[in-house]
Subunit: 345 residues, 4 copies
């Protein structure tokens, strides 16, 4: 029997609550007790925690967000206190083992803690699906579904007019959401971070489509898509930073809207989905994945594993060293993009 | 027995196809024949039309867009040829009576034609719900539902963080979509064209909410919302025109995102729904309304009415003089807005 | 300033929580205090209540069900104790005025209480839309939307095969849901309680459709639809009672599935939506209607009205005597059904 | 360059049109020509086919059903004519290679044709997900999503009352849909074909839940779930056959509704989703899977493979011998069911 400390770090992702609920249910079934730290690693550093029970996690399965709150606090940054501070935060609640649910940053902390001897089982989380070591992460399919619904709606409105529709979706370093939603919705151009674009090539493609009788086009673009160096001098909006030094959503679509219209003369309109993609109830796929991740994390604790994270491989949930998820982000497979390109034009 | 010419003018609106199908089905049942003009009034001027039959309108009920296409062509503008050109376009297809489906511009043409003796029965259409003479127009509820779904999703993501979410919805001259979606989704601030806003009042309201322990806020803003004169000097984006002289979507949210963040220090993120609100399948409410409008339009033709449009009054579909819809746009009722304000703060 | 006692009676209806929240928010804004009785009138008789505050009703707007619980307890039945018992239940919590949210039974109690001098403002509720005195009730559009989504899905599967699809929807005494969803989804036959059906007429209609080349048909049927006397001797399932003496869902579709297949030889399949129609988040339309009802109920209390209920008339919320909702249920308008019939065949 | 004959066999499945479109687009890109046989193998036997082009498959990606129609015709049954008849049907349209999209029956024919030297590349299809050789089939996630949405809605209505909700979903021989939707929606009992149930064990479980303060329960049941021998003598409805000898939907829920209510005294209500699960637009996941299957099938033709089918393995699309999909159906993994059971009670 152990006392398990659960926390969620980084940006929102549909399915976080489903993971929390599943860790608790399986953890309790296996004889453990559970504590939830509030606001990610900050809860450990600031000793802000609450008991997690079957009762307190009832009804949260379908809900977006995270009942524990989240933050970008990192114990190894800015006087965070490092491993010792985390150990103290564990001791304050008699916690033996941690189950952090998070992305590259959170898992990086987890790996370092494990290396220092702190028992840790990680749960990978990224809405962009850009973590290595797992086939998919929860939340990603939900974002793809929301973006696909938007492409579907844009299709019918665009059909009635002579237009270009630009849809900006999430994806800072990887174009999975854009490529999947573009393929699922039948987008005509897909722009992803992995492939810097030449605006004139994009416009030529649109012009060719129109010359062949297509009267509208849909451009699906990742927020992190960037022009090839020197090809788009007005791209000041792309990659702009906000007051907190975070990259800003909404840049590239603004640029594309005006550039495409200016260069082709086609009426161009943008949609920026923004955080709509991060919120709300997860799809059934993501709820199942998140639930199985949570169950597997509790099982790994019971099996006294550490330094591992749960992962999807085919139809199985397995554990892999956390290190597999670290380093460069996972990026879009060339074959997948080639398959999507079949439908351009 | 008459030959009825149907056309759709102006911007897309979910439910246009449902109206077309219903005019055809009821028209045929009443012994009429039907012709569809392509691309609005342009089809009359350019003699571009096709027969509309029960068979050719099968399966279109749930589909967004309009099978007839649309345009902003106005026979009374730019050498359009006026009433005589319309008469010639009718004669070319042996059309006796017109059923134009459209907004203020289309209905204005309809009224002028009726005054000149052309038999016309109009069907009012505006996604913004800003036409007088009818309780609601089809498409509006669909847009409200899409915007409400977005507010719902923003709620859960915002809850986990300390944030302001800005959601820009349609509504150039009237704030119906923003007010309805804001009320339906539980928005914390609603900005509409009818009430120019003071950015500092907005920010103060957000600060007060946070001082009272709220950790997030959702601002629902109509695309046509404008700052009070002199209160927001950086509002250059609002109301900007595109290459075709149309007002541009997406301006005000960009401004609000940066201004709110700059002034309050709260992390602020925007979503711009754009044409997603105009496309896709109509809600059941809008399908029923559009279908009843179409049936009633055919009935008005059978009854040899002219110069009228169909309208919703309570639970009934009636006909009213087209002139009732013309003139100033319908704007948001003070009482409705006051009801929405109960939930601010 | 008053203390308002709120309760919800009868079956579930999406929007109940939105009404509760709105009564509380507007009530508090007007200086009142609020108490929620649990499980309808039972909460008064058994003195089971809780304070309702802005805080305790936060986040409930989009949720199905009712946070207060519901029951079919009636103080005027089975030793309920009548008006005096209700007065005692009010006194126990210092409640001055009641806001019961419910259907014919609940409103009947409300009217009797008002007649006995108890201050009461009612809020009408019926998912079937069969209450007089108001254009629509909240929850109805949500049920129609869910049923319409089902018709849409049945359409595509039916198209590929030679089939009849039977969809059973709610509606014990009135066919509003069936008629609206049938019109919105493009049903080919609509069977409602108001018009007892002849199974052979139904089968003949299906045979005629197939003879004209249609390869599938969708039959939308209210749970309360009944065969004409003597026309369907195997209809034992229809109207069967459950162990609690309530009419049973799911009867008529079972009968129609086997009878249509037996008589026509067409492969026939049923869907019974059941309580799926009563649960889950309300549509935007119903959230707005429910919210406005709640606000108006609080306003009526402030205005010291009694014996009235809130009601929708056109685009306005008004108050009308509760008695307007009592007596025979509202049934489907002949004109509406005639409009739906245009699309049969 | 080849002429590829495409056909769809067996029951509907969301994503069939996406596969057809993708085979066509990639086939044309690779220099092939395409022909679509109507109504499955019947199109070959009756020489009913049409050219499939990029133009003729435009816009079908999001649509349910199959533009080619389907049937259960099997060339090896009832004077079908066997391999020679299929060869003749290919020759009639100069078809070199077949791409049949279907389930166990269709793929069985494909394997036999390949053994006889007919070039064939199969695409596996089963909404129940019960085919071996591939991680998932398209359509399955869509059915799971629809069923999960229903569980979500039942949750809120059930919460307000003291009730048992029985939801019958698809799954004749395998409980994948019930288990996934049950896990995703938080069902309290899941009954699947792989595990014959004892009605008294089910009722005891429900009684225990209620004794522990739960006031409602949701039972998710596969249409093919069966009682343990001798445990439910009134189960005559389960497994009943229709006029065509097909097993009937809707049996087991009818039985469970009355048996649970009779034995526990809890008010019990059923929902039977039926073909709603087979129709309508596919989820984004299924559109991507179906599209990739179609692209891979065209690639396999180009690579002159035969006797293979496309399959999902992890994140990759591969080809495997068709024989891998034949034989016993794939059934639910014990570990998956055990994970779902964690949340019962």
């Amino acid at each position: 029997m152990a006392r398990i400390g659960v926390l969620t770090g980084g940006g929102d992702c549909p399915g976080l609550n489903a993971v929390i609920r599943a860790v608790v249910r399986k953890g309790v079934a296996d004889g453990h007790e559970l504590v939830g730290y509030r606001y990610g690693w900050a809860g450990l550093l600031e000793r802000d925690a609450e008991p997690l029970t079957v009762e307190s996690t009832k009804g949260i399965l379908p809900r977006g967000g995270t009942i524990l709150g989240s933050s970008r606090t990192n114990p190894y940054k800015k006087d965070g206190g490092g491993t010792e501070a985390v150990r103290a935060g564990m001791a304050a609640f008699d916690v033996d083992v941690l189950v952090p649910i998070g992305g590259e940053d959170t898992l990086g902390v987890a790996a370092r803690l494990a290396a220092d001897g702190v028992p840790v089982v990680g749960v990978p989380k990224t809405i962009d699906n850009d973590l290595k070591g797992t086939d998919y992460t929860f939340g990603f399919q939900t974002a793809v579904q929301i973006a696909t619904d938007a492409v579907d709606r844009l299709h019918t409105t665009a059909e009635s007019h002579n237009r270009v529709m630009v849809l900006e979706v999430m994806g800072r370093h990887a174009g999975f959401i854009a490529a999947h939603a573009g393929m699922a919705g039948g987008g005509d151009v897909i722009l992803v971070p992995e492939r810097p674009f030449d605006i004139e090539v994009v416009c030529d493609h649109l012009r060719r489509r129109h010359a062949h009788g297509r009267t509208f086009s849909i451009v699906v673009v990742s927020e992190g898509a960037v022009p090839q160096e020197g090809t788009l001098t007005t791209s000041g909006e792309a990659g702009r930073l906000d007051a907190f030094g975070h990259e800003r959503l909404g840049g590239i679509a603004v640029t594309l809207e005006s550039e495409i219209e200016r260069r082709t003369g086609y009426e161009t309109r943008m949609t920026i989905l923004g955080h709509v993609q991060r919120g709300g109830t997860p799809t059934a796929f993501d709820r199942v994945l998140a639930t199985r991740f949570g169950v597997a994390a509790a099982e790994a604790v019971t099996a006294q594993q550490s330094g591992v994270m749960v992962a999807l491989r085919g139809t199985d949930i397995v554990t892999v060293p956390i290190s597999e998820a670290l380093g460069d982000p996972k990026t879009l497979d060339d074959k997948f993009f080639a398959d999507a390109e079949v439908f351009f034009g």
